[in-house]
């Protein structure tokens, strides 16, 4: 490999203790993110994709497994034990832009925090101000917004402020936890374009967590599909849409709403969506997908399929393959 991986995740596992018993949110996941890449992590709600994002950002400590950042730093520690430099280098943008901005602060105050925290301590207030203005410029927000309270601006603009706040820290890696799913469709496109533009210009790497496959197709270089805490398929985006291997991903692709017959023909015709994601408190034995799988075999209810490289760079976990 020519360059160090930004993120290397191996055997990542997270269990939560609940009153109803042990909840396995993430059940042994491996994937890698290369430098300058937008990596999509796709799954239904409850599939554990956000849990992975939160572990990378340090909100939770994994139960088992390893996450290494740029080949050296260990990300299995929670935020309490991470160095300031590491916290600066990995930024997080949440799904709910309204909730992630303090409603009693102005945009200026919100953007000042990371520059005071990570920036040079000797900066004058005028220099800080110019950094804030520059960040607003980078995300394309008017400077007049600096004096507004975060509660007074729209959802898409709030999300841009969140992105600006992440950019001020000058990270190399940003975890985007469903950054557009709380927004209107028209604004979604704007934010997505802004994100991919920034990624190219500033040579960032993203972990893009989403449930929206169309979005993934547009901006991600590679992606992984999650189901009930397991990774079922993991490959290049183009390869994925051309040749989906796992029955679940085929089901997902066939569930994308289409407008024309032309698009309809592109879809895999096999599986139609049946059933719902099982309760993670009560995981099925064997393959986690067998209850909904149209191609179930006897072995599926007993043995957990290993994820393996079906063709070069294309991984899937299914007994059929």
């Amino acid at each position: 490999m020519e360059q160090k991986l930004v993120l290397d995740v191996k055997g990542l596992r997270k269990e939560f203790k609940t009153k109803q018993g042990k909840l396995v949110a993430v059940n042994g996941v491996d994937f890698q993110i290369r430098p300058g890449e937008i990596f999509g992590l796709v799954g239904e709600s409850g599939s554990g994709k956000s849990t992975i994002g939160f572990m990378i950002a340090g909100a939770y400590e994994p139960t088992a497994g390893m996450i290494s950042f740029k080949g050296e730093q260990d990300l299995t520690k929670s935020y309490k034990e991470r160095s300031k430099e590491l916290k600066r280098d990995i930024q997080l943008v949440f799904q709910d832009p309204g909730g992630s901005l303090n409603p009693r602060k102005t945009i200026r105050q919100i953007l000042l925090a990371p520059s005071q925290l990570y920036g040079d301590q000797h900066l004058t207030s005028a220099e800080r101000e110019s950094r804030i203005e520059e960040a607003m410029f980078r995300v394309g927000l008017p400077l007049s917004y600096l004096n507004k309270y975060s509660r007074a601006i729209g959802g898409g603009e709030k999300q841009l402020v969140c992105i600006a706040r992440a950019l001020i820290a000058e990270p190399s890696f940003i975890v985007l936890d469903e950054p557009t799913s709380a927004l209107d469709v028209s604004i979604q496109a704007k934010i997505t374009n802004k994100l991919s533009e920034l990624q190219k210009r500033e040579r960032l790497s993203y972990l893009f967590i989403t449930h929206n496959l169309c979005l993934v197709r547009n901006i991600c270089d590679r992606l992984a599909i999650m189901y009930l805490g397991d990774l079922c398929e993991y490959t290049e985006t183009t390869e994925f849409f051309r040749n989906p291997l796992h029955p679940y991903t085929q089901m997902l692709l066939s569930s994308i709403p289409v407008l024309s017959e032309e698009e309809e023909r592109l879809k895999p015709e096999k599986a139609k969506s049946v059933g719902e994601i099982p309760n993670p408190l009560n995981r099925p034995a064997g393959c986690s997908f067998h209850a909904r799988c149209p191609m179930k075999m006897a072995v599926c209810t007993k043995e957990v399929p290993e994820i393996r490289e079906v063709s070069p760079g294309h991984f899937a976990s299914c007994h059929r393959l």
Binding site: A59, K84, S100, N102, A113, S130
Partner: protein
């Protein structure tokens, strides 16, 4: 890069304040509450100047004019010692408000601080200790606790306030604790933690600004309750000692003169009601503007 400098003189806080005032002023009841409170504070501050017979607030006896019914000379009549009730009410009002403020000053910062700590460090031993300690104090009725403390120390104006404050802080701890827990679930607090902002800054810059409106509202509502408790304590002879007037004692001492000499009881009692009503209306008004503004 093209930049247009933003006017820094523009003050966002002032703008927000203006908006809040607009919202507040649209509710006639809130305005009524505010005016009542302002008038009451004005009367209390200038009590000795405004009182027609300021000497009557002390040891003065004038048997030539006992039990006079309300008239132009004595707006609220006179009592069994011939003292002007209106003058005594004004001075008593001053003491009542002072007790209310003193209790809040003693109880609120302490209560908030413990609530912030217990709420921020939830699911730790600190939370357990603080909250069980708080509940211990809450299990004792405030009037009883205040009376015990007042009798343990000197029976004075100051210690009656301390007594009420000791009974009062747990409610602020409880309120703050619950508010902190709900605000701590907000993503901006999680973000602050993840980005490495220090604990004190998170508590005082991220959490506290989002919970103080509820606390402020409770303070305003509590003024009324504290004044009633202080009056109840006066009623049983604790707190301010005669001949210094206090609204509670004025009511309790003259109950035996009802119904012939009704003005001895009714006017001080009405004033207590007015204070409580004023603070409640003000509190409700504050609650309205702040809770809507927070969303």
């Amino acid at each position: 890069m093209k930049k247009s400098r933003v006017e820094k003189s523009f003050n966002p806080r002032l703008e927000a304040l203006k908006k809040s005032w607009y919202k507040f002023s649209r509710n006639p009841l809130s305005l009524l509450g505010l005016s009542v409170i302002m008038v009451i504070f004005f009367l209390a501050i200038f009590a000795t100047v405004l009182a027609p017979y300021p000497e009557d607030s002390g040891l003065s006896v004038n048997f030539t004019r006992t039990f006079q019914s309300p008239s132009r000379q004595h707006l609220a009549g006179t009592d069994e010692y011939g003292r002007d009730i209106f003058s005594r009410m004004l001075v008593g009002l001053r003491y009542s408000l002072a007790i209310g403020l003193l209790v809040l000053i003693l109880a609120v910062p302490f209560g908030i601080l413990l609530g912030l700590l217990a709420g921020y460090y939830k699911e730790t031993w600190l939370e357990t200790i603080v909250m069980r300690f708080t509940e211990l104090f809450m299990s004792i009725p405030p009037l009883i606790l205040a009376m015990v403390i007042c009798t343990m120390f000197t029976n004075s104006y100051f210690f009656s306030s301390v007594g009420i404050a000791v009974a009062w802080w747990p409610w602020y701890t409880r309120l703050t604790y619950n508010l902190v827990i709900s605000v701590s679930n907000e993503l901006y607090v999680l973000y602050a933690k993840l980005s490495g902002i220090n604990v004190l800054k998170i508590i005082f810059k991220e959490i506290l600004p989002n919970i103080y409106p509820s606390i402020l509202t409770k303070m305003s509502l509590d003024m009324g309750s504290i004044i009633i408790i202080a009056s109840s304590m006066n009623f049983v002879g604790l707190g301010i000692q005669p001949p210094t007037p206090s609204l509670g004692a004025m009511v309790s001492n003259s109950i035996s003169y009802l119904p012939e000499y009704w003005w001895l009881t009714v006017f001080p009692a009405l004033l207590v009601i007015l204070i409580v009503l004023g603070f409640n209306l003000l509190g409700d008004g504050l609650n309205d503007i702040m809770s809507v503004e927070g969303k």
